[in-house]
Symmetry: D2
Subunit: 358 residues, 4 copies
């Protein structure tokens, strides 16, 4: 259990890193949406391995095939199944790990919970599963686009290097460099840092910030399914994520109410707030301002260094990284964060349709 | 929608701040659990208003009545309904707010989403709803206790004042002071700060850290319902929460993989980790180490100062705090964080029963 | 688990026959609905015991109290909690049954599943729980009424006595007699039969037919949540129900396709069918014709005669009915069937709002 | 929405009759189950078209491919995705129906609900979707088999021809004839009747009865998710089903309580009932006796005769059946009924694990 997300715009993913295929069923995509397959593929290309020198050098085409739910270019209201066949699997890179538990991976917990596991490439716990999310998220984005909602993420931190706050950035620059930081100067430093870490056979953490613009007022359901609570869960479900904050976030702890409150005013007949410490969400419901949040990613667990560990019988072993891995996950995480955000928003757009009697 | 939480140990809450009653139905509590009503009440007393000089001076007995699901002192497997009647409501304190939108409250978003709202005391958006969570959480705690699992939260930060990291603290001291910080020196500073803020007719933020000990290995469901993802959602659903992190959290961004990885070793036949940056969770599943996480709370939105705002017709108005409010939410948030954590864990204990064929 | 019904217009019931109270939370009722409390009470009065000589002579006021979710006479979009306090409980009527398993009751299965049970009056398995459904169903009816949808049930069979098919009946006559059969001649026979059965200290089965008129086209979700599949589940969840059929039902088995098919034609610009063997549902989705279905109820299990049984230790015992019970359940089942039908329809009205992109 | 079934052993199906593939994801199959692929295929072969002279002459291999969730022959606890590629599609058989609404099909309701539809072969509303259910049901059967539970269905009626009651039948004979009726004499009559109907270019209805043996006591969740309520929904979700009854069913209406009640006795230390009008279910929970129920199927809607209808613009048209269709659906429905029953039972086996504290 646990492989579905969303209530009305609902995805269910399947597949392991080195199995036959991964994929997703989207149930609840409304009928009549133009499904742009090239757009889905472009989103997958933003996530795929081997796209630059600072990502893993594995090569996978990650070509999405639509199996159902689309007829003559439009969604029919029926479940949309998408499949991505696995290709460049070097399962033998993992043979030495059949019984060993890699530190800070899911090997031990899967073995302990299920009594057996597909150890090849991490199996189901591999971040490869997120390709299915990106494909589904692309369809959620298409749904949001026709309402004018945009979802844009970028790398806001790598190690100690931080980008300026988002209102100072031009988010249209995000895709112009390989680390996906819209501030060119910070981007160059980040790339250099990741490259250095890679040469040291190590890895490093980072963060991704996401900005949603033009979301309608009224998304989010009190009291448990608050908009930011679902965004938080969605983000924390992404591999390697350790934290989530929205609006003022952890920095808000140190503020006074008189500093933090967002006063209302009216502009052009529309109610707006003068500041936006609320991150576009009040009482769990979007208020029409920019929604923004930041997601913390730990350093990738697979390092090209010897580490001490145990095997499933508890014997001490040395684990040394093989295979091809990312030194830092955040450049490829940007489209994943966007995808999950888009899925959360699409779900709440549909849920909001039930708010009033009409 | 959105008033239920959990899948197998599932709660549904109801009630508004100034309505007749608030309450909760727990569906899925296994049969045969001894229901200690005095314990439920003690948990409610930790949350209730008026308990010290640094909380709101409202007085409510918050007496929980069990309406169903318990027979001869034990749970029967049937839904347990708990009700708390509302008492000390001064609805007239809110009359001046019937049409005004208080800054950084849910007034505007509720009005915009639903077209009408119960403005008295914040209605459903009031933190009063969390009393129902605490009552339900007490039952989840009773369920966890008989497995030996403990859930302990404490105030880890108020404004800029931070307690030492949890391994250096004696959590049994938490309830010994009114701010619920187990470090006595920090506690005194925190109390002084909150008192000063109160005199300034202002409010301040804080954080609560929670530690779960002796949780069994295997809680959490890949890939979306990861243990930390559900904990994150549960915490973010609490009023005034702006952020969540577990294990190394946001500080993990700046670390290298070689620093961050938790190496395995065997002790007394049990597999353990030398460090615990993972926060007791790997691949979304508990690994038997301490589970710990921190929750960021913003400063309370209601301040005793004039603020500029608008009413529902968009006219400019001045809103001035009346009524009796908390200058800082975290001392009373401690039992709420524990309650939500206990509910999440109880749910995953039941879900884990389906992991294997047997 | 299992105490909730519906996905968007969702109810969760609680309470035992001889506990403190029974009740229901409705989560998902859209905001802005006028809540007519007198109507809710009238619906409850149609179900309540003691209403005529052919029902149980227990007396309960069954007064519903609204605890939340309604403000100034309108639904607010927040959960509506309704409570009915239990009154005329003669728990001692059940003392002799503390350890005995009444034939064809839930005593044995509850004991076996949960290891303990509230034996007083059947506890949770008592049909008393359906009062909560009727209260919730009344609100669903109010929601449907403002769309012009009507839900009308009646007694179509008692023992071997059958009413004519519904198109030959005037359903406005249903409430004019105590058995709730709109055909006066059949009604008199049914009343006489039930009275005779009662004097024989026995019970008898019956059926209820329900007709939904003016439902919009498009209710029902393929492929599992077909409209008739949910109606079937909802009806089969009512105590004592043994069967469900819609449209041609079991009689359709013997027909040829050429007899059974409902040909389309156009009338006044609207597409209609010449016959309605489909029962207003095609492919699981309403087609605008009358929706009709029939529900079979077994004879009440409690009879005023000695029966052979066992106690929880397997010892042979004789069980003799005490207390006050219905000789035939169908007259009081009419509002329950309507309530569940209304809840199913209200849920699908909300779900249908997600069908198209707009 | 509506393409998932089950809560803990949960399936989500996808695919249209003439699309690229159909399939299913099973989420919640416990880890460690031996997955017998040949058995899955045998179950699919029992459902597939072209298997005898009384079924449609379409030919499809219906070969299931496992895409995920199985490693070294065992389930891993991860989602199991199964895909069946579509082959023998003669979409041009349906070109004349692009705009016409076939009587008693889903054409009109899908068009009206979604605003567009995949008209080829009925699209998603085609019974082809049930192949995915049979594949998933085969895995549920494997899960039940290792607990000793058997699920056996057979054709109990075609037109007016009825098989004797199930206790008089030898269910091991079911697969010995092409109509799947275990009574050889009735089977021959049924085959002759179907053949005659086929020659008349017409269709006919039938019923399938299913018997579950050796189910443990305690399956089913009060009060809405009663075992028979879920069985009813599952059966009613199958194409062409018009009714469901269990135990005494509709015949129970005419009985007295003194005839209908199942008295308890003890045999070999086990509590049993002398009769089984309850159909193995009391209070919605299995009691250890045989569970049995009957499902009514209408005559197939596609007949090889001219019928009057309208197109989507409301114009009158004549629809004449083309393509290759079943004259009677029940012989191929037998494995579908078994599959859905197995899925319901597997789900309740997992849910029952949460009943007690332990």
């Amino acid at each position: 259990m646990g492989n579905s997300y969303g209530s009305l715009f609902r995805i269910t993913t399947f597949g392991e890193s080195h199995g036959r295929a991964i994929g997703v069923i989207i149930d609840g995509c409304p009928a009549g949406l133009a499904i742009d397959e090239a757009f889905i593929q472009r989103e997958l290309d933003r996530r795929k391995p081997g796209q630059s020198k600072i990502t893993t050098q594995r090569k996978e085409a990650d070509a999405a095939q639509i199996l159902s739910g689309v007829f003559e270019g439009k969604s029919t209201g029926m479940p949309i199944a998408l499949m991505i066949e696995n290709e460049d699997q070097r399962s033998k890179d993992y043979n030495h790990l059949e019984h060993a538990f890699r530190p800070s991976h899911a090997d031990y917990t899967y073995q302990a919970k299920y009594g057996l596991r597909d150890h090849r490439g991490g199996g189901r716990s591999s971040a490869r599963e997120t390709a299915a999310r990106v494909a589904a998220g692309a369809i959620a984005k298409l749904f949001l686009q026709q309402m004018g909602v945009t979802v844009q993420a970028y790398v806001s931190q790598v190690g100690d290097l931080k980008a300026p706050p988002y209102p100072e950035l031009d988010l249209s620059q995000t895709e112009n460099n390989i680390v996906r930081c819209p501030d060119p100067a910070t981007a160059q430093q980040m790339i250099a840092l990741i490259d250095q870490v890679r040469l040291e056979r190590d890895t490093i953490g980072g963060s991704v910030t996401c900005v949603v613009r033009h979301a309608p007022v009224g998304l989010g359901e009190p009291v448990f399914d608050k908009l930011h609570a679902e965004l938080g869960k969605a983000m924390l479900s992404i591999n390697a994520v350790k934290g989530f904050e929205y609006g003022s976030g952890f920095a808000g702890i140190a503020l006074r109410g008189s500093q933090h409150n967002d006063e209302f005013y009216t502009e052009g007949g529309q109610i707006k707030t003068k500041t936006n410490h609320s991150g576009g969400i009040q009482g769990g419901i979007s208020n029409g301002e920019d929604i923004y949040f930041t997601v913390a990613f730990k350093p990738v667990a697979t390092i090209m260094q010897d580490q001490s560990s145990v095997d499933k019988d508890g014997n001490e072993v040395t684990v040394s990284g093989k295979g091809r891995h990312d030194p830092c996950v955040v450049p490829r995480a940007v489209p994943i964060v966007e995808a999950m955000a888009a899925l959360v928003l699409a779900d709440f757009v549909l849920r909001a349709r039930g708010a009033r009697v009409w």
